[in-house]
């Protein structure tokens, strides 16, 4: 389980960004792609441990899970397949062009003014 390492990196990122603004961070929004290697439930659990004793002790974590989005190189259509089947459902062409699903990103902070 590397979600604790990820949660600790999140604390660094949030503190770094929050330092540019005044006010307490009420919540942090993150995007986690299904192909990022991070399990959202484990990350929620790790967040509880990571935030304890920091300035972000009361900061809520809001996770947006990003499904896979790929484009078929043959028919040009975009679709969201399972990560175990990277083929175009219509023409069965293998897909390498991944448009979304690898995110591991801190997107916004909700800051009390």
């Amino acid at each position: 389980m590397h979600e604790l390492s990820i949660a600790l990196s999140m604390i660094d990122r949030i503190e770094e960004e929050a330092a540019k603004h005044s006010g307490k961070v009420r919540s942090a929004q993150v995007k986690i792609g299904v192909l990022s290697g991070v399990d959202c439930e484990a990350l929620r659990f790790a967040w509880e441990i990571a935030r304890a004793g920091t300035d972000l002790e009361a900061t809520e974590l809001e996770i947006e899970k990003i499904p896979l989005l790929v484009r078929c190189p043959a028919c040009g259509k975009t679709y969201s397949p399972e990560i175990q089947a990277l083929f175009c459902p219509e023409c069965i062409t293998p897909v390498q062009d991944i448009l979304a699903g690898k995110e591991l990103e801190l997107t916004t902070l909700e800051i009390d003014s």
């Binding site: 390492s5 990122r13 990022s36 290697g37 991070v38 175990q84 591991l104 997107t107 902070l109 003014s113």
Partner: protein, 224 residues
């Protein structure tokens, strides 16, 4: 005065620190002309045995170094040390993966310009290493013939983030009733077009082809 919270857009990669360091490492490796290949797999798939044999074969003609990640013990470094003199163990303690910082720290004192290849053996784990870029030129994922053919389907992210799949212990395939076609199929469904190599470190089958392949990977970097 009521406190109205405001939304601040950030858009920062959570692993920014690692990604930045990995990019710096990649540039350093390229400038030094060293081909860096990392190896990931579950525990027991034969990473160390494969690397020991590969390095033993390559050491006569190439300048090779290796980094070995493990939670504890220096046993694997001692084993690889039999094949080449420049080997360092990274003991991660409780951390289940290598990161760019650990790699950068372990390189201290080595002259990268004097190396042709640097092999990085990650901690035996099919989940956690997938999120961490180490600055390597190529990531190889190992799957042994004694594991299930559907392992790529169970651990799609590590296969998808790797460049090459290496099926090891191919000498055991018959005894383990390994379904080669099913294994290839599951690899290709999580990573279409993936290069698949098959080896046996024990009998030497496929080792020459694998060695040739790694040399071809290095070639473009040196033809500057």
């Amino acid at each position: 005065m009521t406190t109205q919270p405001r939304m601040v857009e950030v858009r920062a990669r959570i692993l920014k620190e690692n990604d930045v360091l990995a990019r710096e490492l990649r540039e350093r490796f390229q400038q030094a002309g060293v081909c860096v290949i990392s190896f990931v797999s579950g525990p027991g798939s034969g990473k160390t045995t494969f690397l020991e044999k590969l390095m033993g074969r390559m050491a006569a003609r190439h300048r090779i170094a290796a980094l070995v990640g493990d939670l504890a013990t220096e046993n694997d470094a001692a084993r690889l040390g039999r094949a080449c003199s420049q080997v360092r163990q990274i003991t991660t303690g409780t951390i289940c993966h290598l990161d760019a910082k650990m790699v950068a720290g372990a390189l201290e004192g080595w002259k990268l310009e004097d190396l042709d290849f640097l092999f990085i053996e990650n901690v035996g784990n099919l989940v956690c290493p997938s999120s961490y870029d180490l600055g390597e030129q190529m990531r190889v994922v190992l799957l042994s013939s004694t594991e299930g053919e559907d392992k790529p389907l169970k651990y799609p992210t590590i296969f998808n983030t790797s460049d090459v799949a290496l099926i090891t212990k191919i000498d055991m395939a018959n005894a383990a009733e390994f379904d080669r076609e099913a294994a290839h199929k599951s690899i290709l469904s999580v990573r279409p077009g993936m290069r698949i190599l098959e080896v046996s470190a024990k009998t030497g089958a496929g080792m020459q082809e694998t060695e040739d392949f790694f040399q071809s990977v290095r070639a473009p970097a040196t033809a500057r």
